[in-house]
């Protein structure tokens, strides 16, 4: 029998991360997830327990290196290793360049980019020790287009591209697989905030070549593919999950 895989999802109590946590827990993997929102994290553990499924939750401030390192050490102690890291933690506050203040810029970079750096920095030694590991970053098409909430958000998401390529350039031959999923126009709370009315949403749909908003299953399917053996020759790539929005419209 195949060993149970240990999957760590950072930012797993909401949106894309949460859907993936539910999906893997349903399939019986060892799922560990973190989130800043303790209530939401515990609620998800309870929700899964009601269905007889299990997941382990840690409250996590991704901008705190010691906190990140501590959680990853605990996970390794408890589960032996981390096979897959899915990094889904992120924030956005829509601001024009004119409105944007330095604290908002800094906070967005800290959570979305520095938080990612900490997580990857903490798991790489462990993955190298086991001569293998899979990292999947939830990025954003905003990095490519410069749209989606402002200069701060685009920069914070853009940073993940170079980070991924630097990891790939250094550790591909040592068994580290790393790719990035770049969702756009997926039905999440983040999208609801950017397009609050039905009218604004309908306008958006008209700009998407496939004429629909993506669902959380679309992103979970993509993550599952990149986490599977079937995609083992895919390395350092950006997989847009966007209904054709980025390059066709």
């Amino acid at each position: 029998m195949e060993r149970k895989k240990a999957i760590l999802v950072i930012g797993g109590a909401a949106g894309i991360g949460k859907d993936y946590v539910k999906n893997r827990a349903a399939r019986g993997d060892s799922v560990i997830f973190t989130d800043l929102n303790k209530e939401a994290g515990e609620a998800l553990v309870n929700e899964l327990a009601l269905k007889g499924k299990e997941a382990t939750f840690f409250q996590h401030d991704v901008t705190d290196w010691e906190n990140t390192k501590g959680i990853i050490n605990k996970v390794i102690k408890q589960f032996g290793r981390i096979d897959t890291l899915v990094h889904s933690a992120g924030i956005t506050v829509s601001k024009s360049f004119e409105e944007l203040t330095f604290p908002t810029w800094k906070k967005t970079i800290s959570v979305n980019l520095t938080g990612l750096f900490y997580a990857v920095k903490a798991v790489i030694p462990e993955m190298l020790h086991h001569k293998g590991g899979n990292i999947i970053i939830i990025g954003s098409g905003s990095a490519i287009t410069g749209t989606g909430g402002g200069v701060h958000y685009a920069a914070s998401k853009g940073g993940a591209f170079g980070l991924m390529r630097a990891i790939a350039s250094k550790y591909s031959h040592l068994g580290i697989k790393i790719n990035l999923v770049a969702p756009r126009v997926i039905q999440t709370e983040m999208l609801d905030r950017l397009y609050p009315t039905e009218e604004s949403l309908e306008k958006l749909v008209q700009k998407i070549p496939v004429r629909k908003i993506g669902t959380l299953s679309d992103t979970t399917n993509a993550i599952n593919f990149l986490a599977s053996k079937e995609s083992d020759f895919i390395q350092g790539q950006v997989l847009l999950i966007d209904g054709g929005r980025t390059f066709l419209s």
């Binding site: 810029w105 970079i109 750096f117 900490y118 990095a143 685009a154 920069a155 170079g162």
Partner: protein, 232 residues
């Protein structure tokens, strides 16, 4: 070589200390532009900048740059006008992720992202008033291929390129063009189709061209200056 006439233009160069910065200053001086540039007088602290001014052969110190507020911009010669921003600021760690400390990461993000962001934000209201301006961010092909594996440097550069794109969208309505030049900093000669590394003057030339009316329809682009390496 085409001679550009940039008399009556004011160029603000972020970082005039290094080889490329010096070449940029030489080239724009030759073209007749007045130049403001940042210089580090305390090499042990990368966060302390002195603003300098150069007009033809005369140059003088203006004073330290305070990133907390734009007051240092008051009382500048020619403050009524800044036409071109060239962000050539950068630092790196030269290390792989395992060895980069959180402090080193923070320093790279500060120099390569935070300082350019703050300075550009302080200066763009002037450009908006002029309804004219050009911004160039100097990036690196590390954003595409990871370069030498310095995670902090590669991440800061891909972040800068995405910031560049977002800025180009936002500022276009004020007739401000924003482009980036991506240099193959860590490429070795034998991996480059042209068989040699780029020179400081070749980098400065492309920047100069992008800031003249010759490139007046170019916006939101990242120009690869890599001797054909990245897509080879």
């Amino acid at each position: 070589m085409i001679q550009f006439d940039l008399q009556n233009k004011v160029v603000f160069v972020f970082d005039g200390d290094h080889q490329v910065g010096k070449e940029i200053i030489r080239l724009y001086t030759e073209a007749g532009a007045k130049i403001l540039f940042l210089s580090r007088t305390a090499p042990e602290d990368e966060s302390i900048f002195i603003l300098k001014y150069k007009d033809g052969s005369s140059s003088n110190d203006i004073g330290p740059v305070n990133l907390e507020n734009s007051s240092f911009l008051q009382g500048l010669p020619d403050l009524h006008q800044i036409d071109i921003i060239i962000n050539n600021l950068e630092t790196d760690t030269g290390k792989e992720i395992i060895d980069i400390t959180p402090e080193e990461w923070e320093n790279v993000m500060f120099i390569n992202l935070d300082v350019p962001f703050q300075l550009i934000k302080m200066i763009t209201p002037l450009m908006e008033k002029q309804n004219d301006g050009v911004i160039i961010n100097v990036s690196s092909t590390s954003a595409i291929d990871g370069g030498n594996g310095d995670t902090a440097y590669a991440a800061s550069k891909s972040a800068l390129e995405s910031m560049n794109k977002a800025l180009s969208r936002e500022l276009a309505s004020s007739n401000i063009r924003v482009n980036a030049v991506s240099v193959g900093k860590y490429d070795t000669s034998d991996s480059i189709p042209l068989g040699r590394k780029v020179t400081a003057s070749e980098i400065a030339n492309i920047i100069l061209m992008l800031t003249t009316p010759m490139a007046s329809y170019m916006n939101g682009q990242t120009i690869l200056l890599d001797g054909g390496k990245t897509l080879a």
